[in-house]
């Protein structure tokens, strides 16, 4: 079984985000990039399946420019066997559906049977692409998985379904699974892994290589238009309640009821 891992680079979670121009988005000049943290769980899950000899190889699929190569190399250094970076002027300005079309085409071209992805990317927080990829491929999709078992082509996955309840889902391949925190502890690239990653090639493919109609992706095909970028309002300072416990509890209940209106 060949596993594909959908990997996206995102601004580091501690980056100071600035808006460059309200019509175009954030200023990326001083941004440090990292692998989307949830994608790291997906990569680790794939590598563990490979370590357990349940997968034959792991290929990383990324939509992006050459500036994403560093993150892809990191994934290769951790143990992924190959990587395909999907890059074409026709892909510029794709919305989630456009990205999903590119990734679905790449997954098909690579002949993968299982796609692992993060439950969401921490930049746009859309959480849409993996589900759309599954739909486009006609595969099943299990989302927000924090425990995974795999035997004889059957997957058993655990997920939180809200209110403390948990779903246990069994499904067979092919599948798209999105991964949540808690699934595993992502490994670090070893020095030998980093040296070995130098010898692995990052394939770059465009619309023509994937047999993808360029008019179905990119800005022209986008159904979602992004405009009026602004930073979220600054969080107001916290409040510390004074007095003894009885007074403070009483005051806290009052505030939660009358001001926050949550009880």
């Amino acid at each position: 079984m060949k596993i594909g891992v959908l990997l996206k680079q995102v601004p580091a979670s501690d980056a100071r985000i600035k808006i460059a121009d309200p019509s175009t988005g954030i200023d990326t000049a001083d941004i440090k990039w990292e692998i989307n943290p949830y994608d790291e769980y997906a990569l680790e899950a794939a590598l563990q399946l490979k370590d357990a000899k349940q997968a034959s190889s792991v290929v990383v699929l990324t939509v992006g420019g050459a500036d994403a190569d560093q993150r892809i190399r990191d994934a290769l250094a951790r143990g992924a066997d190959a990587a395909v970076r999907l890059d074409d002027p026709a892909f510029e300005g794709s919305d989630c559906l456009g990205i999903a079309r590119i990734l679905a085409a790449a997954a098909k071209a690579e002949g993968v049977e299982l796609l692992l992805a993060g439950k969401q990317a921490i930049d746009g927080d859309n959480a849409q692409v993996p589900g759309m990829v599954a739909e486009l491929l006609g595969w099943g999709n299990i989302s927000v998985v924090d425990k995974l078992e795999f035997a004889d082509g059957t997957v058993k996955a655990w997920r939180a379904s809200g209110g403390g309840a948990r779903d246990v889902v069994e499904a067979s391949l092919p599948l798209v699974i999105t991964c949540d925190k808690g699934l595993n502890e992502p490994r670090y690239a070893s020095l030998k892994g980093i040296m070995m990653a130098k010898r692995k090639k990052i394939a770059v493919k465009g619309a023509a290589d994937l047999g993808l109609d360029p008019s179905t992706v990119g800005a022209a095909a986008a159904l979602v238009v992004e405009d009026n970028w602004s930073l979220p309002p600054e969080r107001p300072a916290g409040r510390i309640l004074e007095g003894d416990d009885a007074t403070r509890v009483k005051e806290l209940v009052r505030l939660l009821r009358d001001e926050a209106k949550v009880i």
Binding site: R73, D74, A77, Y188, A189, S190, L191, K192, I194, M195
Partner: protein, 588 residues
């Protein structure tokens, strides 16, 4: 609050001092081009920041635990697992021979990596550093069977190493040491007590290998009668060798680095190198170890600077005295507007970036001195390393401590509390001025050994480097003020050196009185040279380039406000010894 490894500046240093032209172009290093080097350092940084840094304050607060009944020493929870992860990722193996499981990377990279390790967890860095020192000594001096027996497990980090030099009555003066080694079959039994043994006993590894200085029966007195032995905690058949920890010291800083008294009670040991030539093995590891101590200052000053800068960008107190800089949206301005806050931050930035450059440049010379195919080139690199290592150790640690203090000053009372990491950095750094040869010993090494060596050959070699960089940039309008200052100060240093050397020929005691001030003058001129080299590497960038602006503006601070100290030190050297030596002892 976080520390971000200065990978951009490290890449810049490698580029500015032509890493690819001088190091990765040498045979055996072809795989380690600049991009690969940075990939390795980036991977390394990620682990250090994620895993080692969170343990730093915990290690400081909890310290090590000594169990007298069993002679065991335990590090705080989490350290054993962190060390295992560090080894699993191959980080201990970076510079060593692939024959013993090493990665075979240039020494330059392990030196630059150690800045990141120290900044994230100085205590744990001591374990890695001592093991590296032991490996250097074994690689250079041990017999083949000893190498086969010990190196692989030390390279992988399964075993850790120590250096056992000091005894209760002899620290700086090693000639006094009394630990004895009696012949025992084909090897020896060692008896004696060693003190200040870093990571002498701990629970991180399965075995601990000690490099021990001791005397053979009938050995000459003084340093000419010292031999080196390797003594493992566990012997090959698993028997416990009688070398036991007798206690750990309670120190100002590096609390998670156990500093042990080690008792050798007839412990079996094997001779490393030749009889009575132990000081040679010791000096093999000494240069690299001293370079590393200088880096400690750079590492912790960088971490302190980042904390202080973050604080200064956030903390609002007072109004800018320039109305144009006042922020009308707030009742007070961020303290970064105040010139004195900028002065303190720039004191750190302007010296620390230059020290990092110096460390990078020197570590490249380590690689050249060991690996270059041409003998003359190797010798020339060796001269520079010998000359500038005491500068890096001494000035790096002294300036590092001062710089951390400046960072604390920026933060006011907050910096003095445990809510911020700066007070720990300050305590952890202070030892760097003392160990691996006190800073005064470095100054004596510079003045008493390095300057006279080869009839002044080392100094002439460095002066030629300065002359060359001045010549190369003679036509640069942009660099003219920097070149002029470097010219003036190198000339002044030359005059100080000549005058001091002439006097010292007649009066040896003078050296003891002026050497420390002389070293500081020398260091400042060296940093000015490094700055010019760094500026050379940015002049051709576009004018609005962030790196170019940053380096030019930082260098400006250095030349305007730090380099003038060189003249002050020259005056102190010129003052001679009288104020110290003629002071009546009973008046102290």
């Amino acid at each position: 609050m976080y520390y971000r490894p200065p990978l951009d500046d490290i890449r810049f240093v490698l580029r500015a001092f032509d890493y690819e032209g001088t190091v990765s172009s040498m045979p055996g290093f072809e795989d380690f081009d600049l991009d690969t080097a940075m990939d390795l350092l980036e991977g390394y940084s990620r682990f250090c920041v994620d895993v080692l840094q969170p343990l730093n304050a915990k290690g400081d607060a909890e310290g090590v635990r000594f169990v007298p009944e069993t002679h065991e020493v335990f590090l705080p929870d989490g350290f054993k697992e962190a060390w295992a992860g560090y080894c699993e990722n191959g980080f201990t193996s970076l510079p060593f021979d692939p024959e013993y499981g090493g990665l075979g990377a240039p020494f330059t990279l392990s030196t630059l990596a150690s800045e990141i390790l120290i900044a994230t967890n100085k205590s744990l860095s001591m374990c890695a550093g001592l093991t590296t020192g032991l490996l250097d000594a074994l690689e250079a001096h041990a017999s083949e069977p000893l190498k086969q027996r010990f190196m692989e497990k030390l390279v992988s980090g399964e075993w850790a190493g120590t250096m056992c030099l000091t005894e209760p009555h002899c620290g700086t003066d090693l000639g006094l040491l009394t630990t004895r080694a009696e012949p025992y079959g084909d090897h020896y039994k060692l008896t004696g007590t060693k003190t200040w043994i870093t990571f002498g006993e701990h629970d991180l590894t399965d075995n601990i290998v000690h490099l021990v200085l001791a005397r053979l029966p009938g050995a000459p007195s003084g340093t000419r009668g010292i031999s080196t032995f390797v003594v493992p905690k566990y012997l090959e058949d698993g028997t416990r060798n009688p070398v036991f920890c007798g206690g750990t010291d309670h120190k100002m800083g590096i609390h998670a680095s156990p500093t042990c008294v080690m008792n050798f009670e007839g412990a079996e040991g094997w001779l490393v190198g030749e009889e009575n030539r132990g000081m040679v093995s010791m000096f093999t590891m000494m240069n690299a170890a001293r370079l590393n101590v200088g880096i400690e200052g750079v590492a912790l000053a960088e971490a302190a600077y980042q904390a202080a800068l973050e604080f200064a960008r956030d903390r609002r107190q007072g109004r800018s005295l320039d109305p144009a800089k006042q922020d009308p949206d707030h009742p007070a301005d961020i303290i970064l507007v105040h010139p004195d806050v900028r002065r303190m931050l720039l004191e750190i930035k302007a010296t620390n970036e230059a020290l990092r450059g110096l460390v990078g440049w020197m570590s490249m010379h380590y690689d050249i001195m060991h690996r270059h195919p041409d003998e003359a080139t190797r010798a020339k690199a060796g001269d520079l390393v010998a000359l500038l290592t005491p500068i890096i150790k001494s000035y790096g640690s002294e300036r590092g401590f001062y710089n951390i203090s400046q960072a604390m000053q920026v933060m006011g009372g907050a910096g003095y509390t445990r809510d911020w990491p700066v007070e720990q950095y300050m305590r952890d750094e202070r030892i760097a001025m003392i160990y691996e040869g006190t800073n005064h010993v470095q100054a004596l090494d510079l003045v008493g050994r390095k300057l006279p060596m080869g009839g002044g050959r080392l100094m002439r070699g460095f002066a030629a480097e300065i002359t060359e960089v001045i010549r190369r940039n003679a036509d640069s309008e942009l660099l003219a003020p920097f070149i002029a200052a470097l010219k003036t100060e190198s000339k002044r240093l030359n005059e100080t050196t000549m005058a001091m050397s002439a006097e010292a020929m007649k009066d040896h005691e003078l050296i003891g009185a002026v050497a420390s001030n002389y070293l500081n003058q020398f260091a400042l001129v060296t940093l000015a040279y490094v700055w010019v080299r760094e500026l050379e590497a940015v002049v051709d960038l576009p004018e609005d380039d962030r790196l170019r602006r940053g380096k030019l503006q930082t260098a400006r601070y250095f030349f305007d406000l730090v380099l003038p100290e060189a003249a002050m030190y020259a005056e102190k050297v010129a003052a001679g010894k009288a104020a110290m030596t003629e002071f009546d002892a009973e008046l102290f």
